[in-house]
Amino acid sequence: MRILRYLGPRLLLAAITLTGVAVLVFISLRLIPGGFADIVLGPFVTPESRAILTERFGLDEPGWVQFFKWFWALLGGDFGVSLVTQQSVIAELLRRAPVTGELALLSLFFALAVGLPLGVASAAATARGGGRIGRTIGALGASVPDFVLGSLFIFVFSVWSLGLKAGGYTPFFEDPIENLLGMVLPAVTLGVFGMALILRTTRDAVLRVLTEGHVTAAVARGETPRQILRHHVLRNASVLILTVSATYFGYLLGGAVIVEVLFSVPGVGFYIYSALLNRDYAVVQGGVLFVAVIFVLLNMLVDLLYVVIDPRIGAKRG
């Protein structure tokens, strides 16, 4: 019951957020220079074909009627059709989502596997008056743009392959090992920023918790540093780390455009980007909405996880 009281307002806000995004996306579709009909039909449009299109998409109806029809279809899972191929946008998005999902998971894994231990080590070093190495790695990782790093990887690994593949995608169920070998470079390219993010967050969170009274008390009781770290510090720091990881994961699910283009990984970002180049705006908008939905769902999941990690959160806020 308490959980429901905690989640209720959040569900409502998620619904409001998604509706807001849908309104924005709808308006932007109508705002595109040249107008919807001209984009679909191209420059050599005859009045007859324009009439057919107007009837089919209901373009002669008032704007709000069009919006509600479109929104109603959206609620039923109909994201529209591609202006170029006339195929269902949602079918293509769902087909590509697992690829982006795999890339995102691998990147998150890399970011956490490297960033967490480095962050804790960096916090320990900072507490002793050092911490310059952690600081430099953090700044470097957060700064080198993914396309610079990706280009570097492509250059290095196209000269010395080292068993990894730069570019070229193999479906996972066709050959899992080949697939993973091809995904390592894109995942690391994408994950370096997250590694720096997690490193900085972990370091700051740990440093903040270290000065709290319960840590001093644990030190006074004579607990070993390892025990204190595990029971008192990391558990408290984990809420912040989880927030940042979740935000980062959401970013990965939608923001992998450059890495997917660079390494020709056929994911959602690549799809939306090539649609933009083809002026296939229906796909761009369907894709943005799709990512927004995933994003909001992910945030809901994180809100739930907070309650598991820190029961006070569920109890405190109504």
Binding site: P145, I228, G254, L277, G287
Partner: protein
């Protein structure tokens, strides 16, 4: 100025170095066109895709243009767009954050929610949408940077202002009949300046990343203009035969962003030190 820099060098070499490099890049960006670095626009000034030589310190691009002045041109454009966009968001975001905290109620809730949504939404995806509507170019780059960096200011300034709004001097001003705007500009703004300035450095680094990423995707700087990102896009085609082009452009861009981030870190450490403690 010199004394301050010397003491910074003694205390923190890394930040001092970052500051020096950044100053050099800004100098190149501002005065580049008047420096004797060569002509950025002259086609066939030398052989095509030539490696670095004395005449062409960074080699030549696919049209035989000297690459060094092209990179300087890129620094100029990338810094210009990033700065303009960050000035807009810094003013807008700081005002919104202060207003939300002082007025409170519905406005505060809306600002907080909008900041949450914007903060987390992938900037490049928003960029694709904006580019579809506005068309590629400077306007859409600035719009996307604003969308992505606005929440940085809204969040931090709002939370700093929330605690200020309960302090005696603010309440005293309100009791004395000061308008909301006067309270915000005269009493709250001076006290949130330091946190806002730290956010400016982070926003600048994000802005440069977004600008170059959009240009790399062909949605930012349009030819004949060059930004560091569009230079990278064009030269990545010749990655295997002329790797130094990607190398110089990528290095310059990364260096600029690293320096801005390092400066931001040291500013933040100065304002809000996190000493931590040892566990024994």
């Amino acid at each position: 100025m010199v004394a301050a820099l010397t003491s910074l060098w003694r205390r923190d070499r890394l930040s001092a170095l970052a500051f020096a490099i950044l100053a050099l890049l800004v100098f190149l960006g501002v005065f580049g066109p008047w420096l004797p670095l060569g002509d950025a626009t002259q086609v066939a000034a030398g052989p095509r895709l030539s490696p670095p030589t004395w005449a062409f310190p960074m080699g030549t691009d696919e049209l035989g243009r000297s690459f060094l002045p092209r990179v300087v041109e890129g620094i100029r454009y990338t810094f210009l767009l990033a700065t303009v966009a960050v000035i807009i968001t810094a003013i807008l975001g700081t005002l919104l954050g202060m207003l939300a905290a002082t007025v409170g109620g519905f406005l505060d809730m809306v600002v907080a929610r909008v900041a949450d949504v914007l903060f987390a939404f992938p900037a490049l995806l928003a960029g694709l949408l904006v580019a579809a509507v506005v068309g590629p170019g400077a306007a859409s780059v600035i719009t996307v940077i604003c969308i992505a960096t606005l929440p940085l200011f809204m969040r931090v300034v709002r939370s700093a202002s929330l605690s200020l709004a309960e302090r005696g001097f603010v309440i005293a001003a309100q009791v004395a009949g000061a308008t909301t705007w006067r309270v915000i500009l005269r009493h709250i703004l001076p006290n949130v300046m330091s946190v806002a300035i730290i956010q400016i450095t982070y926003a600048l680094s994000i802005a440069m990343i977004i600008e170059s990423a959009l240009s790399f995707l062909g949605l930012g700087a349009q030819p004949p203009r060059a930004s560091l990102g569009s230079l990278l896009q064009v030269s990545s085609v010749y990655l295997t035969i002329a790797p130094w082009l990607v190398g110089f452009a990528g290095l310059t861009l990364s260096l600029a962003i690293v320096c801005v981030n390092l400066l931001g870190d040291s500013l933040r450490d100065a304002v809000e030190p996190l000493p931590g403690r040892t566990l024994t």
